[in-house]
Every structure is written in structure tokens, then in C-alpha cells.
């Protein structure tokens, strides 16, 4: 199972519905695979319900219930809800197996794909990154905050080993130099709240990371 989980603050912001779409996607992908965090979110959802119950209430217009019934009468057949959709939310979004995406190779071991355009109106940069099995990424630091979830394979850096569905948040204090483990290529989804900067000599090569 996963070892690295989102912190309680992020789960609370998720449960409250305050996260941007890309951040919510990272949490959702983790929850799909982590019963432990899912159960924390269930508790937080109940906290939301209790808080809502304890608020003041405001009476609704007298005819609203009839309006609702009229709407329901217009569609007497309850349309069956599609519950089990194929793939996870990201696969549905990119409509592809993540290995078959039009990856842009940047270094021998590093490929990226910017999918920010799939999140219109969101300020963050959303990037898929692929580090070939056993490959090394150049050392870099972060100017803003970067939230990453491992979608496939695993990588290690000075902080430890990150396996599939592990959740990582990095900020400016972190300089890291990830190495992909043997096995399938390591693919991650990262949400960058501000562009990252390189410390090594790869500045120009990894240009898409710097806007």
C-alpha cells in the first residue's frame, strides 16, 4: 500500500470543496487507491454535514417544493446514473492509456506532457512527467509548491521511495534529484502552483517547466 499520504489539511480542503480542479484530481486519484485516506475523508464529509446542520437556516420560497415536483414530473423516468465508468478520472480526462500519450522527450530519461489546457480557468501548471525505468532526472528546486502523485512505477530521492499512488508535496526548501526504480517507467502527475527553477545545468533543456 501507499506510504505517503496527503496531510489532513489538504483532505479537509478537499472535503470542503475548496481545492482547484487539478489539486482535487491528485487527491481523488489517491483516494481511489487508499482506504485509509478515504476513511478520513468520509469522516471529514460527516464533519461538513454536522457543520451545515449547525448553521442558521434560511426559509425557502413557499412554492419551491412544487417547482421541484414539476421538474420531476417532466422527467418521470429516473435516468439511470452511470456509476462505474471505465478507468480512473485522469485516464478519462486524457482519453488514453498514460503510456501511449504524445510524450515530449526532453532528456534521455525524461519526457513530459503539459496538460494544463485541460483545466481551463485554472492558474496552475499541470504536467505529466515520465522518468524511464532506472533513469535520473536533473536536480531541481521549486519556487512554488508542487503536488505530485505517482501514477505508475516508483522513484526515490533523498526523502525516500515513492511508489504508485504515493502523494508528495514539495516546496522551495526541497532540492531533489529523483531516480526512477527498475520496473515500469515512472509516471507522475504534478500540479505546480508556481514555476520551478533548475539548479543544475539543464535550465534550457527543461524549459517547459519554466514559464
Amino acid at each position: 500500500m501507499t506510504q505517503h499520504h496527503p496531510d489532513s489539511h489538504s483532505l479537509m480542503e478537499y472535503s470542503a470543496g475548496n481545492l482547484s480542479d487539478p489539486h482535487a484530481l491528485c487527491i481523488r486519484l489517491h483516494l481511489d487507491q487508499c482506504d485509509h485516506c478515504q476513511s478520513r475523508v468520509d469522516t471529514l464529509d460527516s464533519l461538513g454535514a454536522v457543520l451545515m446542520e449547525q448553521q442558521a437556516s434560511v426559509s425557502v420560497s413557499a412554492d419551491m417544493f412544487d417547482h421541484i415536483l414539476a421538474r420531476l414530473n417532466d422527467e418521470p423516468e429516473i435516468p439511470p446514473m452511470a456509476v462505474n465508468k471505465a478507468g480512473n478520472a485522469l485516464e478519462r480526462l486524457v482519453q488514453s492509456d498514460i503510456n501511449d500519450l504524445p510524450w515530449k522527450r526532453q532528456l534521455a530519461d525524461v519526457s513530459v506532457l503539459d496538460i494544463s489546457h485541460l483545466f481551463p480557468d485554472q492558474p496552475e501548471k499541470v504536467v505529466l512527467q515520465k522518468l524511464a525505468a532506472g533513469g535520473k532526472a536533473p536536480a531541481h528546486t521549486h519556487r512554488g509548491q508542487e503536488t505530485t502523485i505517482v501514477l505508475q512505477g516508483a522513484f526515490s530521492d533523498h526523502k525516500g521511495v515513492f511508489n504508485q499512488w504515493d502523494f508528495v508535496v514539495l516546496d522551495q526548501e526541497d532540492t531533489h534529484k529523483p531516480i526512477a526504480l527498475e520496473g515500469p517507467d515512472c509516471i507522475t502527475l504534478s500540479v505546480l502552483s508556481a514555476p520551478l527553477k533548475l539548479t543544475g545545468t539543464f535550465t534550457r533543456l527543461l524549459n517547459p517547466f519554466i514559464s
Binding site: 489532513s8 475548496n18 481511489d32 478515504q38 471529514l44 446542520e53 449547525q54 448553521q55 434560511v58 481551463p120
Partner: protein, 215 residues
């Protein structure tokens, strides 16, 4: 702000009398009265049960919309939530979530949907709200519910009563006004670290963090 929280506390007492007339059936175990009503809607499209839910939760959802800055869309939100409740009620499973938790997640998702519609520029939205924010019980992979989960609301209601006001204020702002930790800090004019530590203390007492450390 302090005033509004006081107002919240003041109304809490009044609300406690508002339970449906039907006495919870012993045979239903931990099923609370609202969950029983919701189940009736799902199983037999019971309109009386539906109306009872509307009368209880409708005004709460309207306040939720207004607190969230959706005053001019508050009634729209209530309508959308109830139409959605009707359509989804066949999927409701009381063992996975209490009715109020289930309804809260629908209200949250419909709020996000309305905000998305209002914010939408020309760009097409490519990801569905429900791909990101899940309604409990609508996922086959979900583990079978533990008693712990069923007791969650009762336990939270109890713990919340004992939390210091400053902690409740912060959590209520996050949930009811959809403020980020940073915004709450700015509004209360306290450092972000203080907001985080208040949240951490509160979540610790609500046993959300305790579970953190078990893994």
C-alpha cells in the same frame, strides 16, 4: 465573525427538536430517521418522505449557499440539490453514509457546479465535478462500511460541542464559507501557522489526525 458563530450556536439548540415524527425503528440498527426517509425515496419514490427531507435540509442548504457567496443563486442551489437527491436516491446506501453526510456531499458538488458555470469563459470544461468529488457509496471499490463510519456523525456532533470556539470558527470558515486556510488567516488577522494549528487540534479531537498516525 465571532457573532456569526454565536448565532450558529444559538440556533443549534432550536434545531434539536426538528426530528421527523416517525420514531427510528430498533430493527434498523444505526439507521437514523433521515436515512430511513431517504431510503424510502430511493426504494419507492415516496414523495412524503422526500418532502420531509426538503423541509429539513432545504433551509440548511439555502444558508450554505448564502454563506458561500452564492446569495443570488441560493434557491437555484437548493433546487438542483433536491433534483439530484431524487435522481440519485436509488443509489443511496445507509451503510455507507448517513443521509446528512450524503446530502452534504451533493450540496458541495452542486455548489462547485454552479461556480464552474458562473466562471466559465469560452473554454469547454473537460472534467466532470463528480470525477473529482465523490458522493459516498457510488463507487464499487469502496470497502464495506465499518460501524466506526456509521457512528462518525454522532461522534463528531459530540466532539464539536467540546471544541474551543476559536477552533470551531476556523473549521466553519473552511466548510461553510469555502475559505482556504490562507484566506481564513488573512480574515482573522492571524498567522497561517495559527490557523493550521487550530485546525490540527480540532481534527485531532475529531479523530481525523489520530488515524493519520496509525499507518
Amino acid at each position: 465573525m465571532t457573532n456569526s458563530i454565536r448565532a450558529i450556536k444559538a440556533t443549534t439548540g432550536d434545531r434539536s427538536v426538528s426530528t421527523p415524527n416517525s420514531t427510528p425503528n430498533r430493527a434498523d440498527g444505526k439507521k437514523d430517521p433521515w436515512s430511513q426517509l431517504l431510503e424510502k425515496v430511493g426504494k419507492s419514490q415516496d414523495r412524503q418522505a422526500y418532502k420531509a427531507l426538503f423541509e429539513h435540509f432545504g433551509p440548511q442548504i439555502k444558508y450554505y449557499a448564502m454563506a458561500n457567496g452564492l446569495a443570488s443563486h441560493a434557491e437555484e442551489l437548493v433546487q438542483e440539490v433536491f433534483v439530484s437527491i431524487w435522481r440519485r436516491s436509488c443509489l443511496y446506501d445507509w451503510r455507507k453514509a448517513a443521509a446528512s453526510t450524503w446530502i452534504f456531499t451533493i450540496a458541495r458538488n452542486q455548489r462547485i457546479d454552479i461556480l464552474r458555470k458562473l466562471k466559465r469563459t469560452n473554454a469547454e470544461i473537460t472534467i466532470e465535478t463528480e470525477d473529482l468529488w465523490q458522493i459516498p457509496g457510488e463507487n464499487d471499490n469502496e470497502p464495506v462500511t465499518s460501524l466506526h463510519r456509521l457512528m462518525a456523525e454522532r461522534r463528531i456532533r459530540e466532539s464539536l460541542r467540546h471544541l474551543p470556539e476559536e477552533q470551531v470558527t476556523v473549521i466553519a470558515k473552511v466548510y461553510m464559507e469555502n475559505k482556504s486556510h490562507q484566506t481564513v488567516a488573512n480574515e482573522l488577522n492571524i498567522p497561517l501557522g495559527t490557523v493550521k494549528s487550530r485546525v490540527r487540534l480540532a481534527l485531532g479531537k475529531l479523530k481525523v489526525i489520530l488515524q493519520d498516525q496509525n499507518t
